[in-house]
């Protein structure tokens, strides 16, 4: 389409095409988000982290795996901006490369969890009855497990590593999304506009996919951004317990775990990755809060 994305075109009260109406709605959401400074800080930090992780090999001053035993546990200096760890590896370079592992895990978990939770919740909420009871009891079973312990058991049963950690976190993270999607679905399933959809003769699958699920997505997106921080922390905890990314892979949690012996004498070793975890979690939380204000359908 050859239409320019001008401000007037986006904010037109009477859009002339489907695309213009859709882009107009997105642009209004963006304007709402932009008006929230905390959300913008969160977004900026998240984008910065992703870019830093992607460009890690360009920005790193050292090879994250290169050991220099003569120079172990060195203080931050011009050569090693954040110091070196117990094997003389440059912490700054390891944090950059570790961002790939940690953020990659988070994204993989979300990609696995969100569609599963949405599907289970929408189907249970829309059909109700026996389907609802069976699906929700399964959800309850997973919800009943302490998250970290189930993840630990799961990782221990498989081999420890990034893939197992992703699967384990995904396995324990989906039930809240299913509950949320179910609750959202139940608020709309008896509404007149869904009744009108049923009166068009549409198949239940079509109603769930095209009419119910889109209404659940905004609150799910908000919840996921708010949960990103806890996924990061779970991933880091698994790494800390030696069940996540394996050495020499530079995962933030694992970096803190190996540094716990020097936490009082060489404080800079765990501080770098710790700050990275804190900033990423905080940024996702700010972003989630801002998105809730913009996307939550109940506030319209």
């Amino acid at each position: 389409m050859s239409v320019a994305f001008t401000r007037d075109w986006l904010l037109a009260e009477t859009p002339a095409s489907r695309a213009q109406a859709a882009w107009g709605r997105r642009y209004r959401a963006w304007l709402g988000l932009r008006a929230n400074p905390l959300a913008m800080i969160g977004l900026a930090v998240v984008v910065a982290f992703v870019l830093l992780a992607l460009a890690a090999s360009l920005l790193a001053t050292h090879d994250p795996g290169a050991q220099d035993l003569a120079n172990r546990l060195a203080r931050p200096s011009a050569a090693h901006w954040l110091g070196t760890d117990e094997l003389g590896r440059d912490i700054y370079s390891r944090i950059l490369h570790g961002g790939r592992v940690t953020l990659g895990m988070v994204i993989a978990v979300v990609v696995l969890v969100a569609p599963l939770g949405l599907a289970v919740g929408c189907v249970a909420g829309y059909f109700g009855g026996l389907v609802d009871r069976v699906l929700m009891r399964v959800t309850d079973v997973f919800l009943a497990f302490p998250r970290l312990i189930l993840a630990l058991a799961f990782v221990a049963a498989l081999k420890p590593g990034v893939e197992s950690a992703i699967l384990a976190i995904a396995l324990t993270a989906w039930p809240p999304y299913a509950r949320l999607a179910r609750a959202e679905t139940m608020t709309v399933r008896n509404s007149d506009f869904i009744a009108a959809c049923r009166l068009t003769g549409a198949a239940p699958a079509r109603i769930v996919l095209r009419h119910v699920a889109p209404l659940c997505v905004p609150s799910l997106v908000v919840r996921i951004t708010l949960d990103m921080s806890s996924i990061i922390i779970t991933a880091a905890s698994l790494g800390f317990l030696g069940m996540g990314a394996q050495p020499p892979s530079p995962e933030w949690g694992a970096m803190i775990a190996t540094a716990k012996r020097f936490i009082f004498e060489q404080w800079w070793v765990p501080t770098g990755p710790g700050i990275a975890i804190m900033l990423a979690s905080l940024a996702f939380n700010f972003l989630g809060d801002g998105l809730r204000d913009v996307l939550d359908p109940k506030q319209r």
Partner: protein, 250 residues
């Protein structure tokens, strides 16, 4: 009356749990006519309509549309014949879909082609400007929304329209516009209406025959002229009439 009426409801009973809310209601509507169901809230008139439309499957008795008996589960072809307009135009349109999307949905479901032209033509038919097409429901007024709801019901070219208090959520000046639109559409498209309302004036304006419901039963069926002339037999009908005349004088 022709051999088989468009709608034939015989001893319809509907229960919610142990409570029977419709206790054996029967009526027939010939093709092209409008039948009104009046009664106070809780009299079961909307429940009759929902059973008729296929939204509520827990009924017993006999329902036939265009000579063919229908069961609790309806086939897709049924929904091309029979459509419904809901009471609340604020709740009956999907809040995150444009008018265009809402109107094209029935066409996509029934596999009807020519979506562009049909949507534009139906919008024109319910007297909505073309500019409304890509707006969202929250950008429209109540009357405009109810026109969209009517357009959605009409777009797959049904023969029967079930109207569940189509004007009671609108303010008075808009009510008259919607009622006139419904009357015009019925004439142009030779539609059969079943209109549910608690407002006798609305029903008498649109319908030739009227059924009065009380406590899940139809206590009287009479013509609109008889009602206007005050020839009602049942005390409840007279009571409703007195009420609505009284309201108009206020």
């Amino acid at each position: 009356m022709t051999a088989s009426p468009m709608i034939d409801v015989d001893r319809l009973r509907v229960s919610f749990g142990d409570k029977e809310v419709v206790k054996g209601v029967s009526f027939r509507v010939p093709a092209g006519e409008c039948f009104g169901l009046v009664g106070e809230s809780g009299s079961g008139k909307s429940t009759v309509l929902r059973a008729l439309s296929g939204l509520n499957g827990a009924w017993s008795g006999r329902i036939a549309v265009a000579g063919a008996e229908v069961g609790p589960k309806r086939h897709r072809a049924f929904f091309r014949k029979v459509q419904m307009v809901f009471q609340d135009p604020y709740g009956s349109l999907h809040p995150r879909q444009t008018i265009d999307r809402i109107l094209s949905e029935p066409l996509l479901v029934h596999g009807l082609g020519d979506v562009e032209r049909r949507v534009a033509a139906t919008l024109a038919e319910v007297a909505l400007p073309a500019a409304v097409r890509f707006r969202f429901p929250h950008q429209l007024s109540g009357g405009q929304r109810q026109r969209v709801a009517i357009a959605r019901a009409l777009i797959a070219e049904p023969e029967v329209l079930l109207l569940d208090e189509p004007t009671s959520a609108l303010d008075v000046s808009v009510q008259a516009e919607i009622l006139n639109l419904l009357a015009d559409l019925r004439r142009q498209r030779r539609l059969t209406y079943v209109l549910v309302s608690h407002n006798l004036a609305v029903v008498a304006h649109l319908c030739a025959r009227i059924g009065v419901m009380l406590g899940g039963e139809m206590v009287e069926e009479l013509s609109a002229e008889d009602l206007r002339a005050g020839r009602a037999q049942h005390p409840h009908t007279r009571e409703l009439r007195t009420l609505s005349v009284g309201l108009e004088e206020v």
